[in-house]
Amino acid sequence: MALKGEPHYVAPGDVITANLGFMRGHGTYESDGKLLASVAGVVERVNRLLCVHPLKSKYNGEIGDVVVGRIIEVQQKRWKVETSSRLDSVLNLSSINLPGGVLRRRSAEDEVMIRDYLKEGDLISAEVQQVNSDGSLSLHTRSLKYGKLTEGTLVTVSPSLVKRCKNHFHNLLCGASLILGNNGYIWISPIILDDHQQEQMRFQLPSTPGSSSVKTVTHVATIEERETIARLRNCILALAQSRILLYDTTVQYAYDASLKYEVKE
């Protein structure tokens, strides 16, 4: 039985309960009127629902999640994005904002240009718009927050380590900005300008339709910024290794604690 307090560890095949009053959630299955675990992990009980959370698993997307992903394929009207999820995610051409915030007109022309916006190997930040019936995710980048990522470092950790928060975009005090993707992909970059400033930049630098990226590179990181980013990356990896939940406070604390150590070549 799932008791409160002490964590209840189970392994595949263990009987969680023989009481039929419970609903079976993720990581469980029913056999001979008993509820059994199908993964190794901790039993969680929400009212009458019993789930088992494994230590590690693939990313299970939910609507509204912030994810970081890599374009792996360009198709007719959409991109395939790798988000460490069970199936490749989809980013439709209709669910992005064009460079310069121009509204897209459905035309054959920009279907041809699709590779100019995002191409294979590009990293993007996006939001989960929909979970399809087969379990794959549809993404969208219809906000200035999202889009192509340039200039920065990607760190991959287990998706279970990223805490679900209200905000996944952080400008840390140490002078770097952090995107904590729910899928365990974390993007560290020099401070991204806020929306207002970005808007101004767009007016100053109107992107031509042929420009090769959604966000143009306007900035080259200095050596100090690079050091900060490298330090943050190591902090995140250290936190992940000791299995500490990642959110802005933990990362900031780890960063502060690391300051007594020097960055070495």
Partner: protein, 241 residues
């Protein structure tokens, strides 16, 4: 070769074990950070690495199954794993046969219907071969799958058994495997006692079958106890703080 060499008059085997005694089993879970799940398992001098990738998208359209996951299994033996150096680690007939057998075994144990359109890759490599390669591989894959968080009905535990002087001998080493007796490898789901893998090499008399099989199943129960303790320890150690 006379039989007394396999089982001494005191009832001890060539390596000093009792007939039903398993070799020392140790396992390093999650040693490979790149993979979704991995395990290094050592049973006596047989050492095996198993890695699991997935579930992920299928690489070829033809692999996609609308109602369940596709399982891909590759068994290989390192060129340095046997006393005589192997030419190629994989690709020979026996490796292909083992791959297929392992694939079928784990199709029976993994709850594949939770992951339609997906693919699960299982790679297993023998680093040092000292008998019971298939059985140890099955145990290692089980640990790797559990590490990857892939839902399974139960552990899959396997042991090999032979018969010497009408005494069933469990968990064979290389010397015993090459001996005159028949070899039976049995993989079960220990909780329900269902058999998911069964292989008999050379002839085994039907009257002895039950006896040998029973001893194999008992061996699997013991393997299960050891693996379960290892998994529970691993869970306690790496729980989120």
């Amino acid at each position: 070769m006379a039989d007394f060499e396999y089982l001494s008059p005191e009832g001890l085997r060539s390596d000093g074990r009792r007939p039903q005694e398993l070799r020392v089993l140790s396992c390093n879970i999650s040693h490979c950070l790149q993979a979704d799940g991995s395990a290094y398992l050592q049973q006596g001098n047989t050492r095996v690495i198993a890695t699991v990738y997935g579930p992920h998208d299928v690489s070829r359209r033809s692999e996609a199954q609308h109602d369940k996951a596709f399982i891909n299994c590759q068994f290989s033996m390192a060129t340095f794993s046997t006393s005589e150096r192997k030419k190629r680690p994989t690709g020979d007939k026996s490796c292909l046969e083992t791959s297929l057998a392992l694939k079928k075994t784990f199709e029976a144990a993994i709850l594949t219907d939770t992951y339609p359109h997906s693919k699960i890759d299982i790679f297993v490599q023998i680093l040092q071969s000292d008998g019971s390669d298939k059985a140890v591989s099955i145990n290692a894959i089980t640990m790797a799958l559990i590490d990857a968080g892939i839902p399974m009905k139960d552990y899959v535990c396997a042991t090999s058994v032979t018969l010497i002087n009408d005494t069933p001998i469990v968990d064979l080493n290389y010397f015993e495997e090459r001996g005159p007796g028949p070899e039976l490898i049995v993989g079960t789901l220990p909780k329900s006692g269902k058999i998911v893998f069964l292989q008999v090499n050379s002839r085994l008399h039907i009257d002895n079958m039950e006896k040998v099989l029973k001893e194999g199943m008992n061996g699997n129960q013991r393997v299960h106890t050891i693996l379960d303790t290892l998994i529970k320890k691993h869970l306690e150690k790496s729980i989120l703080t």
